[in-house]
Amino acid sequence: MFTILMYIVAFGFLILSFIKDKSKTSAALKKAWKSFENILPQFLAILVIIGIMLAVLSPEVISGLIGEKSGWLGMLMASVVGSVTLIPGFVAFPLASALLESGAGFRQIAVFISTLMMVGIVTIPLEIQYFGKKAAILRNSFAFVFSFLVAIAIGVVLR
């Protein structure tokens, strides 16, 4: 649904651009292709790493790691799994909801979801390429710590 909206917006602007200036439009498309081709090797590598990782860390394994463990150990475990894996939202949320049902706490789930979204160990080489080493490491470290704050808040709100 949302992707279709993105296509409509992108092609809408593309047509508008073409009507206004053909050469600029072709420059834009060249730029789009060049940027894509530039990071394609990293993209493909990330995709294969995610594939191998998720094949090993199947939902059952993740459940085992986070599921029954509670307290700080459970949160720590959840944060590590969340940081190293890269699961698309449409898989992650049902998984999180299943984890809740199988006995994981809200705090553990909050840490898992937050690190999953904000911390990317697999994508850090790509991030470094754009932001430099220091900024990338700082951003990920802060996001990691922040995920625990989110979890504490979730723990207070959802008792």
């Binding site: 649904m1 420059a27 498309l29 990293q42 995610i50 191998i52 990317g120 900024a135 704050l149």
Partner: protein, 176 residues
């Protein structure tokens, strides 16, 4: 050809690893190939509009305009635009970095680019709806309410901890 192999060497090594896994543990290897394939299809279907918009942004939006909207002195407007751009997007976080590169190149403030990344990672609208339906509205809203200041704080502290040389280096490499 040699160039191509060199650029893709890490990817090729990973393919070999996957084949080795497949030989040793067929079920895991097969599952890995399936996941990689479906993610690749997913990526290729989501990514074209992102890069088209990136190209158009690069060609049409003047540096001066971008500096006014998201630059050093853009203030609250820059923060709002960064949040909007990130939240309105679709696609995995790693697709956001090339876009961030263009924003930097055009003269956006570094903290605003980090806010854009933060918003892309956590406050994407379709993801929020999905989160609410899977984990409940209270869970989603609590996280959302904390994430907004959290993203801004992370962005500002990260920028503050970089010295001018390091920031200059980031902007210079974005220009290339």
């Amino acid at each position: 050809m040699k160039m191509l192999v060199k650029r893709y060497k890490f990817f090729l090594v990973l393919i070999v690893i996957n084949i080795v896994i497949y030989a040793l543990y067929p079920t895991i290897g097969q599952r890995s190939i399936n996941i990689t394939w479906s993610n690749t299809v997913e990526m290729l279907s989501v990514i074209p509009p992102i890069f088209i918009l990136l190209g158009l942004l690069d060609v049409w939006v003047q540096r001066e305009t971008m500096i006014k909207l998201m630059g050093e002195k853009s203030g609250i407007l820059g923060i709002l635009i960064a949040f909007f751009l990130g939240s309105a997007a679709a696609g995995p976080l790693y697709a956001a970095f090339p876009m961030a590169g263009v924003l930097l190149k055009k003269g956006s403030k570094f903290s605003n680019v980090l806010i854009f990344i933060g918003a892309w990672s956590t406050t994407k609208i379709p993801m929020l709806l999905f989160e609410a339906s899977a984990l409940g509205w209270m869970f989603m809203i609590t996280r959302f309410v904390i994430n907004i200041p959290g993203i801004i704080l992370i962005a500002y502290i990260t920028e503050k901890l970089l010295n001018p040389n390091e920031k200059q280096y980031i902007f210079d490499s974005a220009g290339r």
